[in-house]
């Protein structure tokens, strides 16, 4: 059945391609003089579809990105182009929010909304912001006041996995300012049945993992002719049960929980002088995590792990952009970041408390040599312990025709060890060196009347001193700079939008990633990059007919090996399909009804080994929008 649907769909799209087209709003065409070059703009239509869902779910369909998810309410991590989760950084309205303790981001704790745009700077292009984003930097940026609309939105969503989601959001504009408040609450059980093939006797088991999340987001924007002030604030709490691995279902009563709480805020001043644009940022984030693992025996709780971690980041940055001429511009950014991390293992009475200061200077020169050729030279200087490193990058873009361009990026990036890598007991290693990457990539881009965009990105990166946690002879795992690896491949991406007739509009995106890894960990040859498929394909299509919308998406993975040096352990290839049908009632005050069917073909799959994922399930929502 799925072959037939695939075939019909692709023929349908192919037939449409030969028809006349209209303007494709969702593809943002680059400015002649941008702040940053080689930015990948995520699709705003899909962003709208993923509104209030996790950033992890949204990013999973972008080229070169592989999501590792524990399911609804569970922890999510991503890999960009075969790198680790800690190699991808989140820049939240200007504030770096990766955990200072483990260097990672839990993508389930960030939600997608309509009031921001999401960009990706892959690989070395990320050096335009910060060092460390070897995979890339994902930036969340606010829309301008002019792009925001006065509106109030309320949404209720129910999943047949016994999960529910509620949100209310209001954007209020007065003259030169706009305020947005969004409050969301989700809770559920992530309840589904699955066949547990990991244990004998094999039988149907139940996945049940309670979770609840409260998320409050506020943004305040103000501007006059020469000044802009923005304040962004986010408060969140998340409590979740972590279900047992499929291999541990017959254990005595198992209770594993994680509670996260956090606050982050950033204040941004911007002033435009005649030739200089000046920006000042003050950011702060705080987070607290409590993790516990218990088992019960003879009605007695046996504590296996009882730990907590808290951390804060203080961030101050000054940015100045100076235009020497119409064709040459300088951007300078100086920032200071203080990371404080505390980890306590309450059961064993171990832990650490560390503070680390980082300074960096980022200088770039952007030269538009002519209307066809532009370049950016970046020098990024930063400190790590007592050393100062200087990282260069060069980004060049050449427009062969107004519709065809070739870009090339090359440079050196470094990622410093996290506080856990250095100080966790046992196994932390204070002598770790930064991970160093030589990165280069090409981008071939074609767009036709802004309705059709095709892009091909071959990439190559060589990473040395990659930090691995490897088992030691003392029985614990320890951090070492052991891995030397080459990651290479390409991403291909096609986006198009057509009006079949004045009332039917079709949008589609298909992207494919080919990813390989080669290298060694000391004496051992790397055969596989765990969890990274060689082939990954993502497909989304939306058809809109008057007030009716049909959305379908599919994701396919080739075999994902779970061990680095052995062929024997892998997750089978799979392809899942999701679809939604929605209808909008009303003009000023609108009611938007959506009925979704997820995992249509009831495919049994795992994103992380021995973590079952739900089969076919239903998702319904109602959204009310008031002007």
């Amino acid at each position: 059945m799925k072959y037939i649907i695939t075939f019909i769909l692709l023929l349908f799209i192919y037939a449409l391609y030969s028809q006349d087209t209209i303007r494709l709003k969702e593809v943002v065409v680059e400015d002649k003089f941008e702040h940053h070059l080689q930015i990948y703009y995520t699709d705003t239509l899909r962003q709208h579809y993923y509104q209030n869902q996790t950033l992890g779910n949204f990013m999973a369909y972008e080229p070169g990105i592989t999501l590792k998810s524990e399911g609804s309410g569970g922890i999510q991590g991503i890999s960009i182009r075969g790198t680790q989760n800690s190699h991808s950084q989140i820049n939240w309205y200007g504030l770096p929010v990766n955990s200072s303790l483990n260097g990672q981001t839990d993508y389930s704790l960030l939600t997608v909304n309509d009031n921001s745009s999401i960009h990706i700077l892959y690989g070395i292009n990320s050096l335009q912001y910060e060092n460390g984003g070897i995979g890339g930097i994902i930036t969340l940026q606010s829309l301008s006041i002019d792009e925001l609309e006065n509106k109030t939105t309320a949404m209720v969503n129910y999943q047949s996995l016994k999960n529910q989601f509620y949100s209310i959001s209001n954007t209020f504009k007065i003259k030169n300012s706009a305020i947005t408040n969004t409050l969301s609450y989700s809770s559920g059980k992530n309840y589904f049945r699955f066949m547990n093939e990991a244990l004998l006797p094999q039988k149907r088991s139940t996945n049940e993992a309670l979770f609840s999340t409260i998320n409050y987001f506020n943004q305040w924007l103000w501007k006059n002719k020469k000044n802009k002030i923005s304040l962004f604030t986010n408060i969140f709490t998340n409590d979740r049960d972590i279900p047992p691995l499929m291999t541990s279902y017959y254990m005595s009563e198992h209770k594993e929980t994680q509670a996260d709480k956090g606050f982050r805020s950033i204040l941004l001043f911007q002033h435009d002088f005649k030739k200089i644009q000046f920006k000042q940022l003050y950011g702060f984030s705080f987070s607290y995590m409590d993790y516990q693992l218990y088992h019960s025996i003879q009605n007695t709780d046996v504590t296996i792990i009882n730990s907590n971690a808290n951390e804060h980041i203080v961030y101050i940055a000054t940015e100045a952009t100076y235009s020497f001429t119409n064709r040459l511009r300088s951007q300078t950014k100086i920032n200071w970041q203080q990371d404080l991390g505390q980890y306590q293992n309450l059961k064993e009475g171990t832990g650490f408390y560390k503070t680390r200061n980082q300074f960096s200077l980022n200088q770039s020169l952007i030269q538009n040599w002519n209307n066809q050729f532009k370049q950016s030279v970046i020098i990024h200087i930063y400190n790590y312990q007592k050393d100062i490193s200087c990282l260069p990058a060069l980004i060049s873009t050449y427009f062969i025709t107004p519709h065809i361009s070739i870009s090339h990026s090359i440079g050196i990036n470094q990622h410093i060890p996290s506080l856990n890598d250095m100080f966790f007991l046992p196994g932390g290693n204070a002598e770790l060196k930064p991970e160093q990457a030589f990165q280069t990539e090409l981008t071939f881009k074609f767009n036709k009347n802004e309705h059709f965009v095709a892009q091909l990105n071959p990439y190559y990166q060589q990473i040395k001193n990659w930090i691995m946690w490897t088992p030691s002879s003392f029985g614990y795992w320890q951090a070492t700079n052991i891995r030397e690896i080459q990651l290479y491949g390409y991403t291909a991406n096609i986006t198009f939008k057509f009006n079949i007739n004045p009332s039917i509009e079709l949008y589609s995106n298909i992207n494919y990633t080919y990813s390989k890894a080669k290298g060694n960990d000391g004496y051992y040859t790397i055969l596989h990059n765990p969890y990274i498929p060689t082939h990954q394909i993502n497909f989304t299509t939306q058809v809109q007919w008057k007030k009716l919308q049909w959305y379908i998406e599919s994701q396919g993975f080739s075999t994902r090996y779970t061990m680095t040096y052995i062929d024997d352990y892998y997750l089978l290839p799979y392809q899942i399909w999701n679809t939604d049908i929605s209808y909008t009632l009303g003009k000023k005050c609108t009611w938007h009804f959506t009925f979704g069917l997820k995992n249509i073909f009831n495919v049994s799959y795992q994103s992380i080994i021995w973590r079952p994922m739900p089969g076919r399930h239903i998702d319904v929502s109602i959204k009310i929008t008031l002007p």
């Binding site: 799925k2 072959y3 695939t6 075939f7 692709l10 799209i13 192919y14 391609y17 990991a198 244990l199 004998l200 006797p201 094999q202 691995l245 499929m246 291999t247 541990s248 017959y250 254990m251 005595s252 088992h295 025996i297 003879q298 046996v302 296996i304 064993e348 171990t350 046992p426 490897t470 088992p471 030691s472 002879s473 003392f474 029985g475 614990y476 096609i494 298909i510 494919y512 960990d521 000391g522 004496y523 051992y524 082939h535 394909i537 497909f539 599919s554 396919g556 993975f557 080739s558 075999t559 779970t562 061990m563 040096y565 052995i566 089978l572 290839p573 799979y574 392809q575 080994i609 021995w610």
Partner: protein
Amino acid sequence: MKKIFWILFLGLLFFSCRKEDKTNLPTISSDGFYIINEGNYTWGNSSLSYFDEQKQTIENDVFYKANHAPIGDVAMDMKIIHNKGFITINNSGLIYVVEPSTAKYVATIGSLISPRYILPVNDSLAYVSDLYSPYISVINTYRYQTIGHIFTGKSTESMIKDEHQIFVTSWSFNNKIYIIDELQQRVTDSITVGLQPNSITLDRENNIWVLCDGGYSGNPVGHEKSSIWKINAATHQVIESFYFPNINYAARSLVMNSSADTLYYIYHDVYKMSIYDSILPQQSFIEAHQSNFYSVWIHPLKPWLLLTDAKNYTSNGTVFLYHIHGNLLGKYDAGIIPRAFCKQ
């Protein structure tokens, strides 16, 4: 453009394919032994290998081949009791009972916390030590059920029986040997030894030998040099203790030969020590070179010493077959972290 769409279409078909499961039933001879490959914690990649002593060949993944299911997460130990194989699976919290002649699944003993080692104590009972639970589980080896618990208050590890006494090491963050009276089914005494006693054995003179790894740097209960302790099994008095010279190596896997007069253990290299020696041996018996020796086992019937190399703990390990005098007879690829052996 047409080509692109066909490539994408064929790509989608490709992703829809599933690999065929090509597994054959394993060949388990009557003359051989099992090798329990521990695998990595939470990765569920433990496995069972079988060594045919006649052909001197190894067959890997025999549990999967026999049952079309993985063995679970961190297989630790296997004992054959009443002609049934009992395998403790640590992080799966269970014991699998298998038919030793086929490796076919027979039963599950579940609801355990973190089972480590199994020791038959009489005709129908066996004790199961546990890493996290402060209890030893008592199982009925005919009914495949947990029938009781013995409170120790701490984690328990390897065990040995002498008459009606069961000596149990408390390895994780502790320095005790607990003595359980089989008849009373409770802890009756304890002995303080070096930090983290991991293995225990009994010699022909009725002395208990205990090997302590000494912990590690940052260990909440401290870090000291590895040590060997000699204890009178009847009086529970420490006769002698021997400390190793280098704190940077952890000693492990203390075993006794079949005549119960010679100890073997791993301290980076493999060492051999008479039970009558008053100092630790200076010369290694088998040098590790690039190997990462993980466990040693003395064949109960043949003059063989089996030694495992866990390599970097995430590759397939190697099993070395040595003559008891130290000459290498063979080298075989096993699963991830080959840990324990069980004679068929």
